[in-house]
Amino acid sequence: MIWTTWRQFRGQALVGVIGLALIAAYFLYLGFDIRESYDNYRAQCASLADCGPQLSQFSADYENTLLYLAALLGLIPGLVGMFWGAPLVARELEAGTQRLVWSQSVTRRHWLAVKLALVGLASMVVAGAASLLLTWAASPVDQVADNRFSTILFGARNIAPIAYAAFAFVLGTLIGLLVRRTVPAMALTILAFVVFQFLVPNVIRPHFLPAEHLTMPMTVQAINQARSLGSITGAPVVKGLTVPDAWVTDVSELLTKTGEPLDEGIFNECFTNAPETGTAEGPYGDTAVCLAKHDVHVEIAYQPTSRYWSFQWLESAFYLVLAGLLAGFGFWRLQRRPS
């Protein structure tokens, strides 16, 4: 069964190896480029302590590139699920060749187990190699920016992508088994995987461990640190607040001293019609001054950066368990309703 699986998979494996080689070559180039750039910036300052501005510039130089690459890396498990997972069973059912292979002296359970194990392992190797190379390449920037716990970068470093690949592959296989047609199964797989990759970081990941909480007074200075203020619904919200050494998972609306949300009327008044002080600075100027006068604060939920590796393991375990459940369902289904 191992030989048969390999014989069927080797064409796709070749494409995977070529793709991985290209990515690896680029990541290696990027890694050395980043290190050279780091050394250049570092040479401009006498000690690490007073190298702040230079290193910020260094980090900013690569910020966008690394965000794009995080998206690219996030795509790899999806492609694996789409091109390796979805056709695995669907192609057989579509061509009717399951009637040939299931008539050999190998049970369907054994057949699926070997296919899942071998191609699944290949999926994890590809995603893992790409992830570890990117982790290495980006490590000087990550160290300076200290943002590897952020929603997007978290899933593009270290071990989490390996579990994503396992999950996406099993998901694709199962969808192929149920849909029985290759192309629709591929489309459904990538769609379902994207939905998962959106839902998990935003809805599930923040709750892997109980969050820490803090109350942040919204002083003029604090308000000016926010990335955005207000929303189209008119609610008194701030976005993009940061806490040192933490991944902020939730920020409440602006709250008054009593803990009630700030009245929307007052918020909008400050927003559109703040009294001019003439001395206000920062991106929100007089609005910030006006809001701060109402003695507002926000409740923040966060996960300390020290939990980064716990979260890597927890997220990996979460995806691997999901993959296991999907595989179990696939075996059950194949036994009960083969074709």
Binding site: M1, T4, G96, R99, S105, P338
Partner: protein, 305 residues
């Protein structure tokens, strides 16, 4: 005879398969002994493929019991090794070469007979390096047959093996098939919508029409049990209870009936003629078509002809 050797090749009780609301196979009862070459005939859509796919465990029954060589179909690897199956339109892997297929067969079947496979491939003139996707229908069927036979099964099942072949290829294929069966000492079941495909080779016949088994038995028994009665019109309306009328036809002056009698035919004043296998099968098909379509016997007879 020891117990483990007494199992039949195929045993079904109340076997039923439903696809949604469509009944593909209804209340099928069979007991086919081993060592036979079984012809499974019936029109397209009668449920032949359903029965054979059930026997190979490719689908599961909705109700009823099915035993193949004494075990549930595809019960385990050892049981799978005992049943060789060539599915309808003989699926093969298009990207595999002929040699790849043989290698797969060797890897997946512990009882694989490489010399038999090599010999047959050479005999039918297949090129080992050729991709299976480029083989002709006849060559593909030969390849599928070789894979199924080289695992040395006890039971070989063929679903419409000759349907896609031209007459010459069909003849060669059936010839090969029978050689295999003889060489392996295996039982075989082959289905066809044409009696002529299987008549030459089978010694056991199952007629399947309208999702039901119409008749099944040893060919020689069936021929002995079926008769054609010819009598002046109307005289065949009251026959003894043990005489089952399969098909009745009337002309202006005469009535002709194909009947089945389990034992000896009771003494009759009418002319009794032997029935050919073809006429017998046609009679059952006509009866089933009449029942399912609600046609009169005579009209259905014309439709089938």
């Amino acid at each position: 005879m020891p117990q483990e050797n007494s199992y039949p090749a195929l045993q079904a009780e109340g076997l039923t398969k439903q696809y949604g609301k469509r009944l593909a196979l209804a209340d099928c009862n069979l007991n086919v002994p081993r060592g036979r070459v079984v012809g499974l005939v019936g029109p397209n859509g009668a449920g032949k493929s359903t029965l054979l796919n059930l026997a190979c465990g490719l689908i599961t029954p909705t109700a009823g019991m099915l035993r193949v060589l004494g075990s549930p179909p595809a019960a385990n690897a050892a049981h799978l090794a005992k049943v060789g199956f060539v599915a309808q339109d003989t699926p093969v892997y298009g990207t595999f070469t002929v040699a790849d297929h043989l290698r797969m067969g060797a890897k997946l079947n512990p009882s694989w007979d490489q010399s038999l496979a090599d010999r047959r491939i050479a005999q039918v003139g297949l090129n080992l390096k050729q991709k299976a996707g480029r083989l002709s229908g006849g060559q593909r069927a030969q390849l599928a047959l070789t894979i199924a036979a080289a695992k040395r099964p006890e039971l070989l099942i063929f679903d419409e093996p000759a349907a896609a072949l031209d007459p010459l290829a069909r003849d060669g294929f059936m010839q090969n098939l029978m050689e295999f069966v003889a060489e392996l000492g295996a039982s075989a079941i082959l289905s066809s919508h044409l009696l002529s495909d299987v008549e030459r080779v089978c010694d056991y016949l199952i007629v399947l029409c309208a999702s039901r088994v119409q008749v099944a038995g040893e060919v020689k028994d069936l021929l002995a049990q079926h008769h054609r009665l010819v009598a002046p019109r109307g005289e065949l309306d009251r026959l003894p209870a043990e005489v089952e009328v399969i098909r009745m036809q009337h002309t202006d002056q005469y009535s002709r009936a194909v009947v089945r009698v389990a034992g000896a035919l009771p003494r009759t004043p009418w002319s009794v003629e032997p029935v050919s296998l073809e006429e017998m099968v046609l009679s059952y098909m006509t009866r089933a078509a009449g029942v399912s379509a609600g046609l009169t016997d005579a009209m259905a007879g014309e439709a089938v002809r």
